[in-house]
Assembly symmetry: C2
Homo-oligomer: 254 residues x 2
């Protein structure tokens, strides 16, 4: 319960930060999901959509297969579910949906494989979810990261991306956790909030769409317990993955 309360305070604080406190939850979400002053990301004919990130994106995909649009290469998480929804809804656009998430990755590890696993694929829409390992591996004593390293590495990665792919549309997914569920204990807070804030600020800096997954999970745990949505506080269940896919599909249009 204490964790739930902490979580709720965080939500209200962030809401105030965004100046959106007076609107209802659905309005709040949709307002927060697209960059201010801009439209939803528009999909075009033959567009390439790339999901990038860590294990949450990876979700057991077959890394030896470079194809697209099939469940084997898309894994069994939100990227596959969002991909399925994309290729059905926008069938006439002939989209190519790739997933190149790799379990355990932090930002600098995305950078190490970025030419092959992002720039060479030439995405029209690039969606990135990264950050939970940047703090988690540190808390476990396996990594010497800080939020400044996270922020600087992330900015460098996006500058490099924009330089190589000037027209790419960016979607930055907020890293999230469910406090009190298994792996996610008090040690994560308040430090984890600074990673989430960094992701949001980087999205604004690059005029990227920001998907506020922490808020989405905060709302979800009013419908079912935390373990219903993530088994360990970090990795989504199928229900959690669907929750994420739906929020993702809402930030694009034809």
């Amino acid at each position: 319960m204490e964790n739930r309360n902490n979580n709720r305070r965080s939500f209200i604080k962030k809401t105030a930060l965004g100046g959106l406190i007076a609107v209802s939850m659905p309005e709040l979400l949709s307002a927060a999901m697209v960059p201010s002053g801009s439209e939803k990301n528009t999909l075009g004919k033959d567009n390439v959509v790339l999901f990038q990130g860590d294990s949450i994106t990876d979700s057991g995909r077959n890394r030896d297969d470079n194809s697209y649009n099939n469940p084997g290469v898309l894994g069994s998480g939100y990227a596959m579910l969002a991909g399925a929804a994309l290729i059905e809804k926008y069938a006439s656009l002939n989209l190519q949906v790739y997933n190149k998430g790799v379990s355990g990755n932090k930002v600098f590890e995305l950078a190490e494989r970025w030419d092959k696993d992002c720039l060479d694929i030439k995405p029209d829409i690039l969606s990135i979810l990264i950050g939970v390992n940047d703090i988690w591996h540190k808390l476990e004593g396996n990594y010497n990261g800080t939020v400044e390293i996270y922020r600087n590495d992330y900015i460098a990665l996006l500058e490099r991306t924009r330089k190589a792919l000037p027209k790419v549309k960016l979607i930055i997914c907020e890293p999230f956790a469910i406090p009190g569920v298994k792996a996610v204990d008090d040690k994560w807070y308040p430090e984890f909030y600074s990673y989430q804030k960094a992701a949001m600020e980087i999205a604004a800096q690059f005029k990227a769409t920001f998907i506020p997954y922490q808020r989405i999970y905060n709302e979800a745990i009013t419908r079912a317990p935390g373990v219903y949505w993530t088994g360990d506080g970090v990795h989504p269940t199928l229900a959690g993955a669907q929750l994420m896919a739906q929020a993702w599909i809402d930030v694009v249009k034809a």
Copy 2:
């Protein structure tokens, strides 16, 4: 093209049979999907949902695991996608979604494993998609089936199910194929139509919800080619599976 035309004639014929010819496609679909005079299937707290069928339902699920609600046991097809949508949308109901489809099955093979793979699971909602192998294996010379055998076996299976589970809500999925795509050649027609008609009539007889998947695929191939929706005319791609999952989720409500 000839196959497409055949298919279209069948569609119009079936439409006339249902007396629904004057309504538009979306109305037609929603009208056809629920049994006449009844409501959508209502889901209740802790309900068990079971998907049964052949390879289209199976879709690579882990058959050694008897758990529910996770992608491993739900496979990578329409049952998993519908399951994901179900457990997200109706999170507060704490549903249990199972998939017990087995690749290659015909109706009599469902019957052989029905105690263990259906009745023991005590579904509140039972969804069955069966029929394509009943004709396909015959066309390939590996099975001596007829539409009468399909019909009689299917009726016997449902009578047995209703006897063991008097309150079960039944969803009968129409077997479908995309004419002209790989495995589905002229030899399938007009015989395959008689299997589809049998499934529809059995649904009516048992006051089951009927999901008209042939019509749904017929509409889909106006948006993208047949191979976009099924690789071989029979097995759905991820896009085809999502198409089916969406139609499925539309026939239930909380």
